[in-house]
Point group: C2
DNA sequence: TCTTACTTGAGAAGTATTATCAAAATCAGT
DNA sequence: ACTGATTTTGATAATACTTCTCAAGTAAGA
């Protein structure tokens, strides 16, 4: 059993929830999907492969993944939430291309440290943060110049 | 005429729009409102003072303020958009208390510079960014410890 | 003053997500 | 394996926020 399955299983047991084939199937599809997938996209992808699982269950299960520490929800400003696997994945922030929706992940320890400093200066206890840089990626810049 | 009125007026003229009493009233109310006000809150505030302007017009006009460079829209994750005056206001980011909705603004040039560096390393042309630190403010921390 | 184009308020519509509920599935204890 | 309590599911209703529609009203400028 993969480590993600184990984590989900332990969360399910601890909270007196139930292991279902729908949850397994959604987890498998989620692990196979591209990073930053939306509920709708995951639902559609599964449906195209024959799944009959409902959209509501996909939403419910992605929320369950978030509660269990497997995934995190992101909102990049286009209305729909995206979910990404964050279990055993280092913290990172995002560069988002507004032309082609490319998302580049980056880590910058200096920025992280400065954020902590800002929080401290304001006597703020930070529990989460979001840093997103919006613009145009190198590929789209190339296309634009032609 | 205040500088904000002038900016709006020039945008209106340039785009063959029309100066209306509704737009003036909403601008005045917006300038008097607290920073990071939502459309609904501004609408309610005006209504309480006798205005009969509709909610749709408040939304339309706040969007107009954004197009004209007077204001910017913010989304702090609680579903509703907020608008803040940014004309003649230096760029800044936000600390958001999840307990009491307090919003603290901060500027950090080192972080800004590092963001530019990250963008450059990825051949990305950044047009905007958002940095938000979520957590608990000092006041709420005090209350929690009692 | 006329004419044209823009704006308005009210409510309908749209979008993303969550809530409801009856039927089905899972699980713990026998 | 059987049973009964509890959870989960799919379909769809409901919700929340925002934009759209449209007929009536208003501003701009010749
Ligand atoms: Mn990511
Ligand atoms: Mn601000
Ligand atoms: Zn791109
Ligand atoms: Zn607080």
């Amino acid at each position: 059993m993969e480590k993600e399955e184990e984590l989900l299983k332990s969360h399910i047991t601890k909270h007196h929830l139930k292991a279902t084939k729908e949850r397994s199937a959604i987890l498998k599809a989620f692990l196979d999907s591209e990073r930053h997938v939306s509920a709708e996209a995951l639902y559609r992808q599964m449906k195209d492969e024959g799944s009959t699982i409902g959209l509501a269950t996909v939403y419910r299960t992605l929320n369950l993944f978030c509660s269990s520490g497997l995934a995190e929800q992101r909102r990049f400003g286009d209305g729909q939430a995206r979910y990404e696997l964050t279990y055993n994945v280092d913290h990172h922030d995002h560069l988002i291309c507004k032309e082609c929706d490319l998302i580049i992940e980056f880590e910058n320890d200096e920025i992280e440290a400065l954020q902590k400093k800002v929080a401290k200066e304001n006597n703020f206890k930070v529990s989460s943060h979001r840093l997103e840089l919006y613009g145009v990626c190198s590929e789209c810049l190339k296309e634009k110049s032609t």
